[in-house]
Symmetry: C2
Subunit: 258 residues, 2 copies
DNA sequence: GAGTGGTCTAGACCACCTA
DNA sequence: AGGTGGTCTAGACCACTCC
């Protein structure tokens, strides 16, 4: 850049990032608009291409723009968020015949579907075993992995663990469990009715693996939810980890103060 | 790099990042250890310094290392997470005389404190007004801003909005509300007992402002929680936005299935 | 003062998309 | 084919930390 206008002593990349950010927030660059190319920005501002590139990275990291290889850099469109609520397990919604995720997609006019990745007998990781209160001599569980899609976007990776003793010999071992109320319908028939939930929520950047599976653009974090189902006896019997794209989804909890 | 060993055709920066990642995960580089400097890494691997730098950025973005200007790059130590639970509003904890955040800090042996940033009469943003069911002719609210600290780290920025009619003329306008049960103690005396909560949770990268206030390292997302308090009449009367460092904090919900 | 990360330059080639 | 972003090089200077 020719000179730090207005006595702005910050790095040129930050100044350019701020200029572009203002253009976006003022609406001068509306959602979906294409920014000038890195080479154009560099020439216009009298800086090296790498410096313009650094400015764009700053914007991409805060989620304002998205770079598309070979096409250009675009202002990220506002997206509607799929908000998974704690009422997702409520018997109230059973008569819709839809699982909670699909119901939420339908509300937002999106086509939801899910895919079964694997159904396997495994030794669960320590944090899962602890929350399921599995004793060391029964350290065996059924693990089911799914991916949930809304339209063309993968939104959540969902991994469920069940104590092996509970799952063995049931339809839970099949890819399609074939019960109108899903796996919780089968678990109810086996005497475990979900009475309380215990959810632990974290946010973090995705692992390289997750970045690929969820088609995450750089700078988008994930919500990591560890859900434990508690039965009428107060005992845990099912655990699910949701890894959710934070740009497309969120959570909602409605609960009494106890 | 001299040649893509083992036919690995990925960029050199990714290969170096993976090599370092393995060293960290195997314990060869334990928490707190200093990595070789960028210049050393470049020379050792026969790559340009910028390429070594890119590898380190990949690791920093996934939270594995932290770069300290003038000192070096260090393996990020495992950190204990302050998990804010929905029982934070429970009357059960009143006899401890501690607010929920301070209680959670105490449990983890940290020194918790909070700081009042501002107490002002404002026109609330649209999303806040809607959740508080403020009508357009009473669009006025008291806003209180706080920062919560654990030891030397700022952990949460907390902003509370109250309908002006509810706050006017009360101790809520003062910096220190001077009630043993905090603002909710005063609100109860004014006839609003928290009966239910409605929390909406998102994760995102911080704004530049938040990055500064929360002293966030690059690649650390925030949890953004919009909490609404519902009284015995089922009406909302208080709204709080928590912006929490995701590397130091999380959430927990224990709730009945209704 | 020596060493570190942070920023920047002015080039180069590659991978990808659009036409 | 031409333009785009992705990666890389081989330098340079600055800001910060530590001795």
């Amino acid at each position: 850049m020719t000179s730090p206008e207005g006595g702005d002593r910050r790095p040129a990349s930050e100044r350019l990032a701020d200029e572009l950010r203002r253009s976006i927030e003022s609406g001068e660059l509306p959602a979906g608009a294409k920014l000038s190319s890195e080479r154009e920005l560099a020439e216009l501002h009298g800086i090296a291409r790498n410096t313009a590139r650094q400015a764009i990275r700053l914007l991409a990291e805060s989620g304002l723009v998205i770079a598309e290889h070979g096409r250009g850099v675009f202002v990220r469109p506002a997206i509607s968020v799929i908000r998974l609520g704690n009422d997702r397990y409520s018997p109230r919604y059973r008569d819709t015949g839809l699982s909670p995720f699909l119901l939420e997609c339908a509300k937002q006019g999106k086509a939801g579907r899910f895919e079964v990745l694997s159904v396997e007998r495994v030794t669960p990781p320590a944090d899962v075993a602890a929350r399921l209160k599995l004793s060391p001599d029964t350290l065996s569980a059924l693990r089911r992995e799914n991916v949930f899609w809304a339209d063309a976007d993968p939104v959540q990776r969902v991994t469920t663990w069940l104590p092996w003793a509970l799952a063995d010999g049931t339809a839970l071992l099949r890819d399609e469990v074939g019960h109108p109320f899903g796996i919780h319908g089968i678990l109810e028939e086996r005497g475990h009715t979900m009475t309380r939930i215990h959810d632990e929520i974290s946010a973090r950047m995705p692992t390289p693996d997750e970045r690929e599976h969820l088609q995450l653009s750089p700078g988008v974090p994930v919500l990591d939810v560890l859900h434990t189902s508690i039965d009428t006896e107060g005992e845990p019997y099912e655990l699910t980890r949701f890894v959710m794209r934070a740009d497309l989804s969120g959570l909602r909890y409605d609960a009494p103060v106890e």
